[in-house]
């Protein structure tokens, strides 16, 4: 198992479409993934992310569109000839075979000589740090262990593309976070192109070079995690990735620039909207809002503290602004924070650049 970077294949999906009866599961999805890239398809259930993955794997035939792997058109190629590795949500380890036989299975299918099989299986098990499990059966292993065996099995024949369908979904939170770290480092050291599907946006942001947000069968936005978080292009993306305050209204020119007028009539200074859009939403991340006392900001508004929620590492405040809308403010739980009483008058502020209009 070499450590040669950028060993992965280039993947291209063009105009994929798939309908089940009246439902358009995938509606015009086009995507390009570079060698060695880790791309995550992120979205709620029904967004088409799993169907897209299944089309790429060859288990679902698209109604329209093409699939290219390493430059070759594989749309009509059956799944077993696409030379990719796949990890499933519930591991899909063959229960009637030992761990060794499970991992050796793809090598046997490729008629690899016996001695070589043994070496490569043990190397793969070593890669996922489970060398002593070879003789055991899947049911004797824990969930996390089973997932790593599934990974070893998908990697043992050195595919150029790795597909993962919510592989960490069945694990508890702590285990999931540990596996995420392991997964990412493994992927980077192997340089294998990876396409990952999940509905968990934190997971997507932690693992990926690029996140593709999907909704109702099409792509909403595609970019590095920071882009998606800092510069969401649609309200859906802003809502789905991280928490945000979202106010409705419209943008109007004002004496000193532009203003966002909320439906309650509150006027907030904003940066110039990017033409030619007519933004109707005002999006502001809770952690970008500061108490006006802590320092100068472009914008400042008065309000009343409606509630305080203690979340351990963060404190969540709800501030009812004069003029109507409620903003959610989150601050890290630092020892320097000042306790504020519910019902107190507060003044909050942010910089214009921190807010986005959509």
């Amino acid at each position: 198992m070499g450590g040669d970077t950028a060993r992965g294949a280039h993947v291209r999906l063009e105009g994929l479409a798939k309908s089940y009866g009246q439902v358009r599961a995938v509606d015009g999805v086009s995507l390009a993934v570079g060698p060695g890239e880790f791309v995550t398809l992120l979205g709620p259930s029904g967004s088409g992310k799993t169907t897209t993955l299944m089309i790429l794997a060859g288990f679902v035939d698209p109604d329209a569109g093409e699939v290219f792997i390493a430059g070759a058109r594989v749309t009509a190629t059956p799944a077993h000839r696409r030379a990719l590795g796949m990890v499933f949500q519930h591991y899909a380890l063959f229960p009637h075979m030992t761990v060794f036989d499970n991992v050796a299975y793809p090598l046997r299918m490729r008629h690899t000589p016996r001695a070589l099989i043994r070496d490569r299986v043990h190397a793969a098990l070593g890669l996922v740090r489970l060398p002593e499990t070879a003789a055991r059966y899947p049911r004797q292993l824990s969930g996390g262990q089973q997932q790593r065996i599934a990974l070893a099995r998908a990697l043992v024949y050195e595919p150029q593309l790795l597909l993962m369908d919510e592989p960490l979904g069945a694990l508890d939170r702590k285990l999931r976070e540990e596996m995420q770290v392991e997964l990412r480092s493994l992927q980077q050291s192997l340089g294998i192109t990876t396409l990952y599907v999940t509905h968990d946006q934190e997971e997507a942001m932690a693992l990926s070079d690029r996140v593709v947000v999907m909704r109702d069968g099409h792509i909403e936005q595609d970019g590095p995690p920071a882009d998606l978080y800092e510069r969401p292009r649609t309200r859906f993306v802003a809502d789905f990735i991280g928490a945000s305050n979202c106010l409705e209204g419209k943008v109007e020119p004002a004496s000193a620039g532009w203003e966002f007028v909320t439906s309650e009539g509150l006027r907030l200074p904003v940066d110039a909207p990017s033409a030619p859009a007519d933004p109707r939403h005002f999006v502001l991340r809770p952690e970008r809002i500061r108490w006006a006392d802590d320092g100068p900001t472009d914008v400042a508004v008065n309000g009343v503290l409606a509630s305080v929620t203690y979340l351990g590492e963060r404190i969540r405040y709800r501030v009812q602004l004069e003029g109507g809308p409620t903003l959610i403010v989150t601050h890290p739980n630092l020892p320097t924070r000042r306790p504020i009483a519910v019902g107190a008058i507060v003044r909050v502020g942010w910089n214009r650049a921190d807010a986005t209009t959509l």
Partner: protein
């Protein structure tokens, strides 16, 4: 209230097991007259049975027919189960109903139909004819059992196999068939029992040379009561019981094989 429930349950159990409770003791009695309770305890009836050339020949016939039926029905039924569970084509529901039909049509009608048809082909009184008839009777059961087992197979296992480079045929051979093996065994055993115990069709189709065990027993019941009937009955029950216990074991083995519930401990 509880006492009433226990009493009722006990009575029903007594009712259901009455044949065994009567026949087994009787089978240990005299070989000349069947009586309950038996005045003397011996294995005379059993010895007489095993000494009887005619009865043993019937057992052999029944075994031959049942084995053949089981093999053919399991093969055909399993293939059909695959087609019905995995395939999608118009009219599948109607087709399923048709294939299951022999199970739900009264046996006398099927027996009559077989009789007329096989007579036309000159297969009356032959084992081949009986096997054909029994296969038709047993296939629906095989289809139902194997279909249920197939539907319980985790599709992602087959997808994993294909993603790992195994074509559909090899996937079926290495993954699907081993996983449904308990269902296959169960179906084969049920088909065997159905053929072994089958009586109505046997009455119509049997000739003088193809007398199955049930047919000979029926003749004895209708014409001339054999005193060894209790022993024969006990043996039949024992044999059927053994087969069903075996079928039950394999079904439970199926459950254990599919139980891949991970123990969540270390990562």
């Amino acid at each position: 209230m509880k006492v009433l429930a226990h009493l009722y349950g006990g009575l029903v159990v007594l009712f259901l097991l009455a044949p065994l409770l009567v026949l087994v003791p009787m089978s240990l009695g005299s070989a000349d007259i069947a009586e309950f309770p038996p005045r003397s305890v011996s294995l005379a009836q059993y010895r007489k049975f095993f000494d009887s050339h005619l009865w043993l020949e019937s057992v052999a016939t029944s075994l031959r027919v049942a084995c053949a039926t089981s093999m053919v029905a399991t093969m055909l039924g399993t293939m059909a189960a695959f087609g019905l569970v995995r395939g999608t084509f118009p009219g599948k529901a109607a087709l399923s109903a048709l294939l299951i039909a022999p199970r739900f049509v009264p046996v006398i009608i099927t027996a009559l139909a077989f009789y007329a048809f096989l007579a036309m082909l000159g297969l009356i009184g032959t084992e081949k004819g009986l096997i054909l008839a029994h296969v038709i009777l047993a296939c629906p059961y095989v289809i139902i059992i194997v279909s249920a087992t197939l539907r319980g197979v985790d599709r992602s296992l087959e997808q994993a196999s294909r993603s790992l480079g195994a074509n559909p045929l090899r996937t079926v051979l290495h993954i699907t068939l081993p996983l449904i093996r308990p269902g296959l065994v169960s179906a084969a055993l049920i088909a065997f029992v159905i053929s072994f115990d089958e009586i109505v069709v046997a009455i119509f189709i049997a000739g003088t040379r193809t007398v199955t065990l049930p047919k000979r027993m029926w003749d004895s019941l209708v014409f001339e009561m054999e005193p060894t009937l209790p022993a024969i009955s006990t043996l039949i029950v024992l044999a059927t019981l053994l087969v069903c216990v075996a079928a039950g074991w394999t079904r439970r083995a199926a459950g254990r094989l599919r139980e891949t519930s991970p123990r969540d401990e270390e990562p």
